[in-house]
Symmetry: C2
Subunit: 115 residues, 2 copies
Amino acid sequence: MTIRQGARVELAADGLCCSSVLEAPLGEAEAEGLAQVLAALADPVRLRLLSLVAGQGEVCSCDLEAPLGRSQPTISHHTRILAEAGLISGEKRGKWTWWSAVPGRLAEVRRALGA
Amino acid sequence: MTIRQGARVELAADGLCCSSVLEAPLGEAEAEGLAQVLAALADPVRLRLLSLVAGQGEVCSCDLEAPLGRSQPTISHHTRILAEAGLISGEKRGKWTWWSAVPGRLAEVRRALGA
DNA sequence: TCCTCCTATTGACAATCATCGATGTGAGAT
DNA sequence: ATCTCACATCGATGATTGTCAATAGGAGGA
């Protein structure tokens, strides 16, 4: 994940487009895509990370180590996974990478989870 | 998971009660609980299993092997995980175990995932 | 230029997980 | 009692995952 200066990190986040879990039966491909996003959410550290980012608008990675109690490589690992799931996106400005929640992505997940 | 005859299988499903991911910051305990339920959902086979159960009202385990393309022990493994997450519940009648979606549980997850 | 700071990547390790074959269990049927 | 069927459990295995120390990359400042 090489981030150029000023470039938004918007990593391949598949649509989660049409059907939901309650519109049975869920297809294999749709299940695969939804499972991937849910796997990104299925970690307590990433849930709290997303919560922090969503609550503060913009957060740099260095401000996440202390509240989450994890090392810098681990934080980088988790931001990467959340970004790949389309849940957050990062912008590199100067030495810092600023992370923010992708608007509507969580709503997309909720919608895929049912009516 | 020993299921007695006629007894509903309702395995310890914590409340997911109050706060949501968007009400930052999410506490450690709440993140842990939510992550556990999301982990149960973060598998394509389990998503399709839940979809089948929700769509048909009541399904016995034997009717899941073919559409999901997994062995009987694997199906049993997945039903157990979904039941422990409070997403489905099983009732043993005769030789069969009938699974059905727990009403409102998925809505609880959606609510915990944001407004 | 060199130095410092922030972040991404690599490599390794322990833990967890999805899967299946083999076996155990318990209920109905003969 | 014995047989059969549906399901749970056990044991093993290959794959994935969360974590951190060490290292690399890249930007700003002196």
